[in-house]
Subunit: 367 residues, 2 copies
Amino acid sequence: MNNLNSLNFSGGPGALPESVLLQAQQAILAVPEVGLSVLGISHRSDWFAAVVAETENNIRTLLGLGSRYHVLLLQGGATQQFAMVPMTLLRGKQSPAQYLHTGYWSGKALPEAQLQGPVEVIWHGGACDFKRLPDDDELSFSATAPYLHYVSNETVEGLQFKRLLGRDDVPRVCDMSSDFLSQPCAAERFLLIYAHAQKNIGPSGVTVVLLHEDVLNLVPADLPCFLDYRKQALAHSNLNTPPVFAIYVTLLVTRWLLQDIGGLRNMADINQQKAALLYQTLDSSEGFYQGRAAHQDRSLMNVVFNLGNLELEKKFLAQAQRAGFSGLAGHRAIGGIRASIYNALKLSAVESLASFMQEFQQQARNC
Amino acid sequence: MNNLNSLNFSGGPGALPESVLLQAQQAILAVPEVGLSVLGISHRSDWFAAVVAETENNIRTLLGLGSRYHVLLLQGGATQQFAMVPMTLLRGKQSPAQYLHTGYWSGKALPEAQLQGPVEVIWHGGACDFKRLPDDDELSFSATAPYLHYVSNETVEGLQFKRLLGRDDVPRVCDMSSDFLSQPCAAERFLLIYAHAQKNIGPSGVTVVLLHEDVLNLVPADLPCFLDYRKQALAHSNLNTPPVFAIYVTLLVTRWLLQDIGGLRNMADINQQKAALLYQTLDSSEGFYQGRAAHQDRSLMNVVFNLGNLELEKKFLAQAQRAGFSGLAGHRAIGGIRASIYNALKLSAVESLASFMQEFQQQARNC
């Protein structure tokens, strides 16, 4: 693989597996089973219907998802879901939906929900600078909320929930954009899960939505068709021209997860090893590298840390870039360093980064 | 070029130029100037900002578009624009917007507009089975309409307006999805033009919107952010993660239009030659091939015709496929045959098709 791709720690769009890139590359000139460029095949072709069906089916298999759920492949990213969810589930409601504000991305979901109906924010993580997530005893889950919304992994701050939140008698809605298919998840305990593809499962331009069939009966009649989960589900994600290439690449990634990795349990093992190695590097640095997130809430996807001063961080990033690493600058909202270690990033790449970090620390001490 | 791609007459997503496919293929492993896969480069990178800026600039140059217009690159296809336009320009209005119903696609725009406000349909093309477009003296343009909406080219029926519609004192909104950048157009005589990419200018997954700056002041305050033209314009199409790959390929196509073709006047010449050859083949077939559209409204992009009976059409399609042609089946809504001859389809491919049609006719007569 191109060495630079293998050391791409970008926060997203993230690196994709080498075998997927090679197949995608071939498909640009000719999809093997069709003979045409993937960019010029009709979305109404039998081939594309099979692509959508297999992608849906692979996601079902990976998650053990039953037939009462629809798998949709939409456009517009998580941002579109920030609006579609409350348009569908919150409009006209008296009782507020409950939202957790745990970081940058859950914060983006709030104003979009507030446009549609009443919202109660039951955790204001800003008070602790989004350095930790709440315990259950800090949260008061209402029995009358139309739904509970949270973000499973905050990419900017590097926080990840290690447990299911909420009550079984209130529908759960979760933005899993940055840890979807990185580990097994109890998908059927949610009413709705959404995840844009560009972290773990594909390129930007496509968003996966898992939808309990009950949602189809809750859609208001006056929504534009493309914002209507029911119409999208009935059209099998082909209501209007879908992003064919992005969906095809997502199919290739789900095949890779099933066939090369062997499922989400294996994927989770690999992801845990990768994260453990980096956090260990932070913890054994005697404060040279300062992890941002509280230990119990550390993300397996985004390892966020600082080096004490901006000058040193700048030097770290420049030297890392010269060594072939990319994407390590922290999110523009908070700065610092962020190593995003999504599915496609190999343990060997993390080992290289850990070595680099140790050497950089040694070197800095010797100056 | 892969011979099958060069004979792809698909109605959309359509074929792309060979040189674009080769560059896209290379970018899947490594964008030359970055060294990373285009699928794993951050949308906040300097490289991607330059991609967006150059794409915008190329479109401005091709159309001679002034600085009072914004060029947006959005998701959701024309279908999203069917809703965004009336959400922005029609909500709360008393006077109806005027719409022309000239075929399948303009028909799709109607219910989306009617959800948002009053609509007057000033042309019901269904009465003549969408076989022709209206003359000016059949249309009554209101001076008080918030805007006039029409579709410049109907891909399904093969109808294309050869003139500008409407009054200069009422804003024009046009869906140019299927003939955008296929010929010069008086873009500044419109308030808003939209076009999904997957006919002439790129893969599916990205939509170009040209927007007069006045629109920015008309956006209601309560729209979800991704449906807000103002927020999208201020964010330079990077409000949330855009479809990086689709935009990159669109950039490559605009470069091809500027550098290889030499601008829209040249592109129009080529497109006129292609269409003339096919329509001539229909007209000289003594009724064997029956063109669908009235002569004066014939589309330069989609040549739609019948062969008199379904059995013969089936035979035509099967034999064409064996000869390497693809995408010739008419739209599922009306059947028949459709040869879509978008920008990237070469004159030589059209010559091959015309020869095939003549031979098929000869053969059928000899049976």
